[in-house]
Amino acid sequence: MSGLDWLVLIGSTLFIMLYGIWKTRHTRDLQGYMLSGSSMKWWVVCLSIMATQASAITFLSTPGQAYGDGMRFVQFYFGVPIAMVLISVVAIPIYRNLQVYTAYQYLESRFDLKTRVLTATLFLIGRGMAAGMTIYAPAIIMSSILGWDTYLTCIVVGVAVLAYTFFGGNAAVSQTQTQQMAIILIGMLVCGVVMVLKLPPDISFADAMSIAGRMNKLNAITTPSWEKFDIKDQYNLWSGLIGGTFLALSYFGTDQSQVQRYLGGKSTTQIRLGLLFNGILKVPMQFLILLIGVLMFVFYQFAPTPVFFNKAVYESVSEGPYQEPFAAAEAAHDQLMQLKQAQYREMLAALDAGDEQAADRAEQALETLEAERLKVREQAVNIIRQHNPRADTKDQDRIFLSFVLDHLPHGLVGLLISVIIAAAMSSSAAELNSLSTTAVIDVYRRLIRTQADDKELLLASRGMTLMWGGIAIGFALIAGQFGNLIQAVNLVGSLFYGTILGIFVVAFFIRHVQGTAVFAGALLAEAVVVLCYVLPLYGDSFKWLDIGFLWYNLIGCLAVCLFSLLIQVFLRRRPA
């Protein structure tokens, strides 16, 4: 990075942090700290919700996802608009009427204390783990730029986020998210424009789309027929519409990190509009981010492409005892990429001439070359493993970062890095804030210090922020073992969200089920979901349970409803 990049990076990051802290310097009461004084307009609610979900992982990992797997990940978000409508109709009036700080407060008035505490605990476990991964993403960036160890950068980023949340609370998060979101979207658009401008002169944007289409990267809608339906397939139209709706219902309707964003809205109408506009904007926004990933794929078909995108690992192997076999793999990789470039040009010429058969032949040749390239890459990865068995051999999350560092003009690199760090700060801060709020309101004030006044609770909130910050940093230190981050975060969420959503569905719609039945039903349902995930890992006889994680949300939710109903029937029949 150049001096100008450093100036932009440090300047903009410091500005956002100090602006948030300055804007909230008068935060003295609990309501201001937790709910921003319930004063947010709809567009602030909307941007705040979007920015909380769009963490650094979104901007690092999503383009990498499109680079490897195409655009089908966009289907994951199809459930968001449906969920926004359902939450606006059902949940918002209840939350507003009860004037709650956390969604789990409602469960005590509907069921009992133990159900409230169980749900809050499930949230604390799931979100606490996810908060670690949110810190890990910008730590990767810092380690790539500074050449520092990732463990050290995890601690540095974690402490910065912690300071920001500690001093400002929810209001600091909300106040700065609008600015951050604006910078983030501008930065991503600039990246897309630079990618198109840096394509070879004979490759137009339309050619780039043709290449991406022929290479199956524009697979935005995949609709398997019933014969070909594969429940292990993570992203298709049905898993997006059904599983995605359940995941979005859980995340936006019951996850305190989101509920806390919109509970700070000025009125029911402002909150509903904020949620609904999130539903309107979410899919197009993710489409654009994935399109940038697809453009990046085409860009790297014609630009020098490293055999492995993690620079620190790449340089370590290139200078170590395995440098010769690694250099041989790199040379073979380069040669295959050049052959691919020639085939791409042949394919485009055939398409221009309207010769479909020649285009198909070139496409087949490209598929063969790609299969060979993947073999060579696997060899390079094996060499990396031999060099350092502990090395992180997943590099999908590093591809976009490599592009930013190697190909953007000076100044823009600093801006993009600051954008990603800003996104990380807002998401992590929102997560820490919601964790501390839930721990204080649903556990501390309800079980430990029932007579605590606002001053003590504000102090406890800040203490809890520190504690959850420490736990999140601890998870961040081990997050490198989870592969693709955006998938890992959603997987962790899906393990708990289904059960949490099930409890709320029973609360809203199955009026005759009481606290003990739903409490036991939730415990059983969570056990079912965890078994669905764990059993396939430990034996071939359970491989039939190996399903796409989005379905865990549906399974968890339905299991809570079913078990609760059965237990309620059993409890009624039992003699008093």
Binding site: W42, R96, Q99, S210, G213, R214, I221, T269, T450
Partner: protein, 54 residues
């Protein structure tokens, strides 16, 4: 349990407030249909997009 501080009261008529903030929808039902319609249109456009370059 201490009672949470009271958020500002809602306006008397939420639909009136909706019309002021988003004139395209006169009722909440229309607003919800607008969101779901936009989703259906987006899926259709994405399908056409994914087929256009094959």
């Amino acid at each position: 349990m201490p009672r949470p501080a009271t958020p500002p009261a809602d306006t008397p008529n939420p639909e009136e407030e909706l019309r002021q903030l988003f004139p395209l929808a006169r009722t909440w039902r229309q607003m919800y249909l607008f969101v779901l319609g936009e989703l259906a249109l987006t899926i259709l456009l994405l399908y056409l997009f994914s087929q256009a370059f094959i």
